[in-house]
Point group: C2
């Protein structure tokens, strides 16, 4: 079984975590998020206030690319996703991208201001994430079109065959996104 391991990426603050998964005759068990161990390895001390789950009935369901003014700790409970991020923060790395396949043995820390998206690779995939601020209905945040040509995310399933929400189909291209300013402190 693999040790807990953190990996940095081309997007500053976006961290990919490799999680130990304990298998036995019943199935498996994982510490999906463990504050002390992960902070010990260099993850920011993340205090979640909300846990969201989204169920994707079919392979191909695609959600994103969403930027909110809070951090996210994302993972899958079952199934597998192709996950992709686009840096939407003001500054030199605006527009930088990263992608990775996420099964139950991977989690990703997505810092505030980085656009988040994924495509389900299996029917019945459940995506679960923790956030450190509360979502409120009616607030709009910068979102980027899944098909944006400058980000050019290599979706395994062509977007023409993907299930996408009306809202996400209407998201603008990168040139029309207002970069997210740093948090006021």
């Amino acid at each position: 079984m693999a040790e807990l391991r953190l990996e940095t990426t081309a997007i500053p603050g976006l961290v990919v975590l490799h999680l130990p998964v304990h298998e036995d005759s019943r199935g498996w068990f994982k510490e999906n998020w463990q504050r002390e161990k992960m902070v010990g390895l260099g993850l920011p001390d993340f205090g979640p206030v909300q846990n969201n789950m989204s169920f994707n009935a079919h392979r191909g369901a695609t959600r994103g690319i969403h930027t909110e003014p809070w951090d996210k700790f994302v993972s899958v409970a079952t199934g597998r996703v192709f996950a992709a991020w686009v840096d939407m923060r003001e500054g030199e790395t605006f527009g930088a991208t990263h992608h990775v396949e996420v099964g139950p043995d991977v989690a990703v820390f997505v810092p505030r201001g980085v656009g988040n998206s994924y495509q389900a690779l299996e029917d019945g995939t459940v995506y679960s994430y923790l956030v450190n601020d509360h979502w409120r209905p009616g607030q709009a945040y910068p979102a980027l079109n899944l098909a944006d040509e400058s980000a050019a995310i290599p979706w395994p399933i062509p977007l023409a065959e993907a299930e996408i929400s009306e809202k996400d189909l209407a998201n603008p291209v990168l040139a029309d996104v207002t970069p997210m300013a740093p948090k006021k402190t």
Copy 2:
């Protein structure tokens, strides 16, 4: 869609939550845990430090009955469980039980000192929970036998046909459990 609703039980502090589940063409979305709304409805202000997930390959996998010195916020990501609790705290309600079927639209707050257990009702069920203290390897806490005759949990799948860990098969009966003392403050 149901409103978020909390329900008290015969075990003091054990709260069953009914969660709104937003369905659409992609699948569904739920706020599995939402600190502000839930505290507003009376849930203790729970600050998780760890998120665990357990995958149960087959209907019948049964885990418990485990008591630890921390609170748990339990739910399922996919599938369905029969979940049961036994009060193992010192005092008048020692031995009191509660059970409920938990699908994606239910979550349960399990206070410190209440024994926790569940049986998967579907193949591929994923159970997810948040806890407000860190588990450490090698620590033993009071556990109760799944087959205890005084608790008499009405498991839908007979335990003789259930997948149970070696550790759980060795748990003692209620008469041999040392009740959990209140937290030192």
